[in-house]
Symmetry: C2
Subunit: 418 residues, 2 copies
């Protein structure tokens, strides 16, 4: 096994799921597993790209399920790349190519580590998806139909790499989401000379939006009731470099930005539309005003409950729901979290950054609910803050890749300890 | 002279200024005046369509300037018309055709009345514009360059017809306008997971908009300071049919809607735009949020002053100005207002509706300022509430047309009395 060369070979295969590609990548990784003595097969379910399933059953009492995906984001715009995205190149300590970070690198580093372990000290199951980059539209039905096959004690998520602090990252959950569209309507557009005597839906919408916030907090009664606050230990493990965050966002951020990102649910205006929005002036009273709102929810808020609170609170707008995802958080005291933290310390010699839940949203809660598993965590990834995942010149450091393989081995050993 | 037949002949000429037409209509009306002994000429100024100027100098001490326009709105959509818009037809008491209401009918009824008077008891000047329906882009410079020619004691505006109450309408002014665009920006769009720690321009804009209103009043300090309130007499002459207004607007209106339309300045949201406004969801923190606002101003508010108050009050938005028009109001005690009211009573046998200023905006203040004339009023028009001006099947009642001619004669007699 030549670890880097094998990754490069894998990354040469275009698995852009948005373009319907992936089959060849699925076969490559199945063959790779089999050639290294791991039982593997393709599962053709409702998705176009097959799932790759693998298993090492050593007869242990505990089983780790490893989730990765072999598909990648479109590489376009190609002219921004310094090299062919599907002909990975090595420059000094870097490998540059589409997918070397997200997620082929993490997939391969973990897999190679387990192969190198020979017989791991616990059972390992592998599930590789080919539709993650198009939003995993079939993952719930797949999990439902294959829940017995995927039964496990721990789930290792797709791979968190190094954070801006330089320490390895561990992520124990995700925020949830409620995405709604509020609309206020009147029968027709009117000449604005009638403004003194009629209702303007744009003003009504502004009133409603204003009522949703009070001093930067969400003002919907009951909104914060179910927020699970961070423990002192969880706060202790937060890291983050304020300067690099500000430079990435182009805005100042508060001192406790890391905690806010994890712990604060939000009501964000993602879109506004009413009346005339072109060049110059049109004196119209619009008949229609719309706001798109995304609520990022934290454990243990439930999007259904938040929607119901919103519907009770906002009386004068239509509310259309565009999305609901539940938040999820694995305990920092869980075996999987402990094992990730201890192994990271051992391998990297520094305390890792532990994020109780990502500020973003993902389908972790589906895994937890359908597979009845409450130890799901993300770690052992190969990326660094400059990896440009989803963008051009995607890259990883070769040194990080090798460290991840070591982390994987140490993690599995810790996890297998009674 | 066959009054109706002559109007129909005039209306057959397509004078759609938005399509560059008008010359033929200008020549028609100049010839019509000359053929009835009125000195007339075309004035080629900066506009594409010439101005038609006419004059009857009887050596009186007072002069009335009559303003009308010979151009019309585009007739499209043609399929909505029951007949050819430029082949006027008579159906019962109605003439149907483009421009028979706005403004060829009023132009012709007034002109024919004066012709029928033979030698009017005061000097009369006529100025007919060919660009009114495209916003009179050259009227200010024309007035400036021809202020001596247009010198007069009174100006009769283009023609107010009958209101929904059935009484003839007199309009003594217009509202002004300040049209601005407020914009709040940040350096770039961001993933909405950063909502807990960054500024969202859409929320900032909502805060600013909210600060502009307090219980349906404009909350900009000093905004109402210069509002000239209506006198008891002005209020007495207001009429209006609430039911027909509600049916026209498709909304309920307050009991005192007529007074509010005249006396209340407004801050209207004419447009809102921020972030994602398409189908479905995008979880974005927009980098840009924009509101278009039109302030309708009443005498004696000044758009420059209101802009300055706004700029002082709103600190966190760019303010771009798209339009400024000053309001104007002629006194109800003026000679021209008295003459219109008395003549209307005499001819129609009812008290007219007198609107101190229209809820809409127009260039009356330019006439007042440039021509140094503070007796400008609108009346003696041929339209009725169902005339569909600017729309399809534009029409007037033949009986209203004849009544307007009588009103014109009586008005001139009253105006000429010492």
């Amino acid at each position: 096994m030549n670890s880097i060369q094998d990754l490069i070979e894998f990354a040469r295969i275009d698995t852009t799921s948005a373009k319907g590609r992936g089959e060849e990548g699925a076969k490559f990784i199945k063959d790779y597993m089999e050639s290294h003595g791991i039982e593997a097969r393709l599962i053709r379910h409702r998705s176009k790209n097959p799932y790759v399933y693998g298993e090492i059953n050593v007869g242990a009492s505990k089983t780790l399920l490893i989730y990765n995906h072999y598909d990648v984001q479109p590489a376009e715009p190609l002219e921004k790349w310094n090299s062919d995205p599907f002909q990975p190149v090595i420059e000094g300590d870097k490998i540059i190519g589409r997918g070397v970070g997200d997620d082929k690198g993490s997939l391969m580093a973990r897999l190679q580590a387990i192969i190198e372990m020979g017989r791991p000290p616990l059972n390992v199951k592998f599930i590789y998806e080919g539709e993650e980059e198009i939003g995993s539209p079939n993952i719930d039905s797949f999990l439902n139909d294959y829940r017995d096959l995927l039964r496990s004690d721990y789930v290792l998520w797709e791979g968190a790499g190094k954070g801006p602090s330089g320490a390895p990252s561990i992520v124990l959950g995700v925020k949830g989401l409620l995405y709604v569209e509020l609309t206020v309507r009147t029968p027709k557009d009117l000449h604005s000379m009638y403004a003194p005597i009629v209702t303007n839906p744009a003003w009504e919408l502004v009133k409603i939006l204003t009522s949703l916030k009070a001093e930067d907090k969400v003002a919907i009664p009951g909104f914060y009731d179910k927020v699970r606050h961070l423990s002192d230990e969880e706060i202790m493990f937060l890291k983050g470099d304020r300067k690099s965050m500000e430079s990435a966002l182009g805005q100042e951020v508060p001192n406790d930005f890391q905690r806010k990102l994890v712990e604060e649910p939000t009501c964000n205006i993602a879109g506004l539309l009413s009346g005339y929005t072109g060049e110059g002036s049109k004196t119209v009273i619009p008949s229609y005003a719309m706001a798109k709102l995304d609520f990022r929810l934290v454990p243990d808020q439930d999007p259904e409950e938040i929607l119901s609170l919103l519907q009770t609170y906002v009386k004068n707008a239509e509310i259309k729901v565009w999305g609901k995802v539940r938040p999820y958080r694995t305990s920092i005291k869980s075996k999987i979290a402990r094992s990730l933290i201890e192994s990271a310390k051992e391998v990297y010699g520094v305390s890792p950054e532990v994020i109780p839940n990502s500020p973003g949203t993902g389908p972790m809660e589906s895994f937890a609910r359908i597979l009845q598993n409450n130890q799901i965590a993300d770690g052992v990834g190969v990326e660094h803050p400059g990896s440009n995942i989803h963008s051009f010149n995607e890259n990883i450091h070769i040194s990080d890749y090798h460290m991840s393989r070591e982390w994987m081995k140490s993690f599995i050993k810790h996890l297998a300890q009674p």
